[in-house]
Structure formats: C-alpha cells, structure tokens
Symmetry: C2
Subunit: 234 residues, 2 copies
Amino acid sequence: MITKRRGDVSLVSVTVDLVIFTVRSDCLQVLLIERGKEPHLGSLALPGGYVRDGEDLDEAAARELLEETNVDAERLHLEQLRTYGAPARDPRGRVITVAYLALGPDLPTPTAGTDARAARWVPVKTAISDETPLAFDHKEILREGVERARAKLEYTTVATAFCLEPFTVAELRHVYEVVWDTKLDPSNFHRKVTRAIGFLVPTGQRRVPQLGRPAALYRRGYATTLVPAILRTG
Amino acid sequence: MITKRRGDVSLVSVTVDLVIFTVRSDCLQVLLIERGKEPHLGSLALPGGYVRDGEDLDEAAARELLEETNVDAERLHLEQLRTYGAPARDPRGRVITVAYLALGPDLPTPTAGTDARAARWVPVKTAISDETPLAFDHKEILREGVERARAKLEYTTVATAFCLEPFTVAELRHVYEVVWDTKLDPSNFHRKVTRAIGFLVPTGQRRVPQLGRPAALYRRGYATTLVPAILRTG
DNA sequence: TAACTAATGGTCATCTTGACCGGAAATCGT
DNA sequence: ACGATTTCCGGTCAAGATGACCATTAGTTA
C-alpha cells in the first residue's frame, strides 16, 4: 500500500462517487459504469472520480455528474450521502470516497465517461441483488442511497426531482409507487399532495393523455419539507 | 499551499471533527476546545484530529471522542454528519474533514486533549451566535449538527441517548424541550412516548423525586425509528 | 352513443393530535 | 394529622388526518 505523509500526517486520495437515480420504464434505475481500468477492470461500479486540486466536494460531484450523464447538475437534486473510508476499501491505497445522491427525471442515455468502457441504466432491484457484483464497497453505498431516497420521499418534496416540469399528479404518484415499490390509492394521494403546502403549483394547463380524463399540470412549489408528511405504511 | 500528488492524483489530509452534544443545566451544550496550536491558536473549535493510517472513519471518531471526553463511544450515539472539503477551509493546505454528531448524557467535565489548551461545555445558543467566533468552518458544521439533532428527535428514538438509564418520561421530555427550545404538554407527551412502539421499556421501578408523585422508570426499547413520529409544530 | 379509462371529488369510520381537566402519590408546613 | 403543593399520569373532547371506497367528470375508442 502506498502511503505518503505531510509532516506527521498521512495523506489520502479523495474521490466522489455518485448514486444517480431516475425513474425509467416503471422502475427505479441507477446509473452504473463498466470500469475501463484497474482495479476492478470490467466490473460494474458507481460513476465517480478524483476530487481535483482547488475543487470543492460539491463541485467535484457536479462535474462528475456532467461528465457521466451530460446533464447539468442545476437540473438535478444533488446531496451528499455519506463518506466511506474503510482502510482497505481500495487496493490502490488509502482512498476515501464522498458519496453523493443524485435524483433526476428520465435522463438521456449517458455517454461513457473517461474512465469507463460503458455507462448504462440498471434497475435498482438488479443492481442491489447478490447476483450483481459491484466494485469496491459500491453495493453498500448503493443500498444506503436507495434507503435515503425512499426515506426522503416521505418528509421532503424531492420526489418532484424525478419529474420533468410540468408534470401531473399521476406522474408524481408513479414516482412514489416505483421508488417505494407499492401501489398507492390515486384519490388519497391526490388529496395529500395537493393539500401539502408549497408542494405543487398549478399551471392552469392540462395534458390530454392517451386514455382517460385530462390531468392538471403542476410545477414544483417552494417547499422543501413536506407538511404533512406522506408516510409509507405497510 | 502544500500539495502533493500520487501519480496524477492530488493527496489531501483527512480529519474527523466531533459535534458532541449533551443536555446540562436545562440547556443544550456542545463540547468545544480552545486550540493549543496554529492555525487558529487560542480559538474555540470542535474537537477532532487526523485520521490515522489504517483507521476507519468511525474508528477515528470514536478514538477522538475517547481522547477528548474520556467517555467510551459505546455509550454514546455516534453518527456521521457530513464531510466538508472547501479548498481553502484550512490554511495548512488541502484538508477535508468528516464531521460526526455525538449525543450523550451529562458527561464528566472533559480533560483537555492533546492539541487543546482546554475543553469545556458551551451552551449551543452561545456557540452558534455571531459573538462567538469558531475556528475553520466549524460554525457551519455546528449549525448543521444542531439542525440534524433537532430533526432526528422527531422521527427517531435518539433522544434517549441523552438520558442515563433508567430514566423517567419527564427526563425524556426535558431533553425534547431543551433541544427544541419549546415547552411540551406533559400529559400529551407522556401518551405519545409510551404508545410509540419499541421506544420505552418499563423497568417496573419508580423514582421518588424531591417533590411530586414518583415517576416510573424506563430503559431504551429496541426501536430506532419512531412510529408514530413526534413532530415539532409551531 | 355506449363503453372504457383515468382524474378528481366526496363520504365515512378510524386514528392522531392538542388543549385541558382531574385523580393519584409523594413531600412539606403547620 | 391534615391540607397545600407538586408532579405523574389517565381521561375527555373537538379538530384534523388517514385509509377504504364510491361517484362524477372528461376525455378516447368501438
């Protein structure tokens, strides 16, 4: 293991890794790359990379997001998840990684990044299963990302980050159903979501669907916390 | 600024910083140290220190906790808060810090640690005010720690981490009142906490106070999430 | 024009919450 | 000894939230 010191202090490399979720084809999907170099060459992994000199952590996450998905971080919800620093988590030496959670609407199919052979969307159900090995400790990171996303839908308004504006209540409900993997009563969901203060702003427009009654269109409101919360039960 | 590289990759120093809260004399207090060396010599700061070779982040946090407070981390609630890595946050060079939140019962007055001239409890109200300068970005970290602690009391059972077992419902209520800086209705609070599943385990014992009716004694239950949650309102 | 589908509104029993009252169980002062 | 005082803790009640479910609305399709 390579170890350098600055004075009495050990030095480490710092990376950011991204858990990027979207809702695609009725399914919560995560962006994974096929690693293009060692270690773990060819393995599936979370996209990420080294934090550069003079770069803040959030900046590094936004930059990696742009590189891997060609989507401006402005349009996504991006928040820090947790930092992972087990001494042996990377065979190259002491590398700690700051994991970020990114939530966005159905994004363009990503191009392969610099260090990756390929990048693609993988259903979360597949990615977290034991049959899908992931590089480093990325499976643990992914699992915590899923749990964080699920929990945040309860008491924050982040679910709207999965929707392209303007969106319908049904689209928002679909997000909840997919992320939580449950069915929700359309009528009760409609009531909750429209009464929650600052959650949705009606545009006055309507969208005519393939089938059924046209639905009102909304934009995100100013609220970030959801009161009252929408709780998972059962 | 000192910068070293390993191959193409910049190397940074990693520290852990601790936001240690306790409830003392009707007041939420945070453990601060007076720095014993540069930079920010003499300033108030959060306790913390460098992560050592071969040491996991949680281990480093537990070790620093022990060094600064002489309290075994087993008895405290310890969780990662967030990682701070603004490029210029430390004049010594690139140093990122993994902040931890620690919650515990009224702890023994701490001894000064290795890098500190003195360590003492400071009321949070004082510590976050503009009249109290803190070293580095520690004021921002402290503010986020306070907000995290307040939020966690709503939907988790961590409030019991502030209590020495066994404890009474009134002691637990006191924790909520101090952390949230509100008054709570004793009767309604009693109903909520005793009905919340897995929150409290009755010991069958009672404690006779200076004044008033004896109170039943409880221990922590198995639950970590609080259902139903106890929400702050108004 | 009837059938179909999805959006959205309404009803109702149940549960939770906050405000508040009152009894229980201890100590203290006289 | 006995009431005053304090705190614990149980009970009541109205208001609001929730889940289950039905009804209406507004489109398309056969």
